[in-house]
């Protein structure tokens, strides 16, 4: 596998928790709705939902973007921006986790490594999507702490992977109905089933062809998958994120 041998050669940045500095964004202090670039990008998929609520609801100047609060914590913002920032948070977390897993896990088989690389790469695509969609409304690059995960145990790594992926599934399911913009809802739908495929793959690496690999403990007696509120998502993810994240301004059911 020539490709796999080149893995470490391609990534030259330091390992987690530090994200390679080339990817580090400036820590913007506030993100208003006045940003021209964001307006241009977001309005290209919806003229009136994401961008205009401040105007049409007569609340011009209301904050919708993300912001860094005085105590250093990060508010995800409100509306579709807040929901997109929540997804962006999870995608950042997953990319950082898989990067650490690929570089640090001992005793990986060639197949193990291939799976972790593929999961990493998909999450990069999802992360880049939200980062670009959000533009100046995006939260900064976050710092992570995966010290609670035992990277000496291959099974612990796949167990963490299936948990992160299932937080992703629950987050997309729970926030989908809160999305205003039909285009963003469509794209979220295209991603959530891939997250569910990821979760299945990670579970399959632990217990193939079982109830567990199908995620049975998350599925209720109506055959419905789990869903998480933004608060529940953060309750599960916060311990791995160094900055304090707030979803207080996200919409609610």
């Amino acid at each position: 596998m020539e490709k796999l041998n080149k893995l470490t050669a391609k990534k030259t940045g330091p390992t987690i928790p530090a994200i390679p500095s080339v990817e580090r964004r400036m820590f913007l202090r506030s993100f208003g709705i006045a940003s021209a670039t964001t307006l241009a990008l977001l309005s290209s998929c919806s003229q009136d939902n994401l961008v205009a609520p401040g105007k049409t609801l007569g609340r011009s100047g209301a904050r919708t973007g993300a912001s860094v609060l005085p105590d250093g914590s990060i508010d995800l913002g409100s509306g579709d921006i807040g929901i997109s920032n929540l997804a962006y948070t999870l995608d950042q977390l997953e990319v950082a986790f898989y990067m650490t897993a690929v570089e640090k896990t001992s005793g990986l088989s060639e197949l193990d490594r291939k799976v972790l690389v593929e999961l990493h790469d998909h999450e990069v695509v999802h992360r880049e999507f939200f980062k670009t969609l959000l533009g100046d409304n995006a939260i900064p690059m976050l710092d992570f702490d995966f010290s609670g995960i035992d990277f000496n145990q291959r099974n612990a790594v796949f167990d963490a992977a299936q948990k992160f992926e299932d937080v992703g599934v629950g987050a997309f399911n729970g926030t989908g109905p809160l999305i205003q913009d039909a285009e963003i809802l469509k794209i979220a739908g295209k991603m959530v089933s891939v997250e569910a495929r990821h979760a299945t793959l990670a579970r399959h690496m632990l217990q193939p062809r079982t109830y567990f690999s199908l995620g049975h403990e998350l599925i209720d007696d109506k055959g419905l998958d789990h869903h998480l509120t933004p608060e529940q998502v953060l309750a599960k993810a916060q311990r791995y994120i160094k900055q304090k994240i707030s979803a207080v301004n996200l919409p609610k059911m």
Partner: protein
């Protein structure tokens, strides 16, 4: 014309309809200039939209129910055959059969007396798959077809449920279960878990038509954005990564044209 009289007449007839009406009227008011409100055309548009929303949801749920009937019946038949499913895969198919039966019951409970009855199925699809319940590879191929098709079908309907949060949430929660099924079946078949036009596993190509899409937003070129961050090498691999990072929807018409050969008698 007195708009408010008509509104209160409607309220008298059907409180729920009026609520829907008011909801969609509020939405329209947000985006429409005041002058337009006075026109009869505007009023007619509002009324039609208000009632269509309800009919849309019923139509979507009955479409979903038809697909769940198909899956539930397929797995019921398959799991009843004593020599079809090897021991190693029994857990997976027992659980999937249970989920699909639960989906049927759930959708019927949501539709009440609007639920359509189960049609008769022909799992050979007019002879295309002659022995689905005695030939395990064929059974697996059909299972993968139905699951990946189900994922695409729910995905295509989700935007139509946007105005009914509770129904949309339920649909999303079925959608991700179908994706788990599809992924596990693909793994059992030793295929990559991602739906793609490149790896159909013997499933009719039309089930994966359009899965190669790499453009999800006009202003976002994911290939160039992602390239430098990926572990996998550049070139055609980057496109593969991008296309496998998203599942694509199908319209109801596309799904029905694929599922059609399996349905002997369409629901009235």
């Amino acid at each position: 014309m007195n708009l408010f009289n008509i509104l209160s007449d409607l309220e008298g007839v059907n409180a729920e309809a009026s609520e829907r009406f008011l909801f969609s009227r509020r939405k329209l008011l947000r985006t429409t200039s005041v002058a337009a409100l006075a026109t009869p055309a505007f009023f007619a548009a509002t009324v039609n939209k208000a009632f269509a929303a309800d009919a849309d949801v019923v139509e979507v749920l009955n479409f979903a129910l038809m697909l769940e009937y198909l899956e539930a019946e397929f797995y019921k038949k398959g799991t009843m055959m004593s020599n079809l499913i090897p021991q190693s895969d029994k857990q997976v198919f027992m659980k999937i059969a249970e989920h699909e039966k639960q989906h049927v019951e759930f959708l019927k409970s949501q539709l009440g007396d609007k639920a359509k009855p189960m049609p008769e199925f022909d799992f050979t699809a007019k002879g295309m798959f002659p022995d689905p319940f005695t030939n395990y590879p064929i059974f697996l191929t059909l299972s993968q077809s139905f699951e990946d098709l189900g994922v695409r079908a729910y995905k295509g309907q989700a935007p139509k449920l946007k105005d009914d949060k509770a129904v949309l949430l339920a649909a999303l929660k079925i959608h991700s279960v179908e994706a788990r099924h599809a992924a596990e079946i693909r793994l059992v078949r030793q295929l990559r878990v991602w739906a793609s036009e490149q790896e159909t596993g013997g499933v009719p190509a039309v089930v994966y038509k359009g899965e190669n899409n790499i453009r999800h937003h006009d202003a976002i070129d994911l290939v160039s954005l992602s390239d430098s961050h990926l572990y996998q090498m550049s070139g055609s691999d980057v496109e593969m990564v991008v296309r496998e990072s998203f599942d694509e929807p199908l319209t109801k018409e596309e799904v029905l044209s694929i599922a059609g050969p399996f349905i002997k008698t369409m629901m009235p």
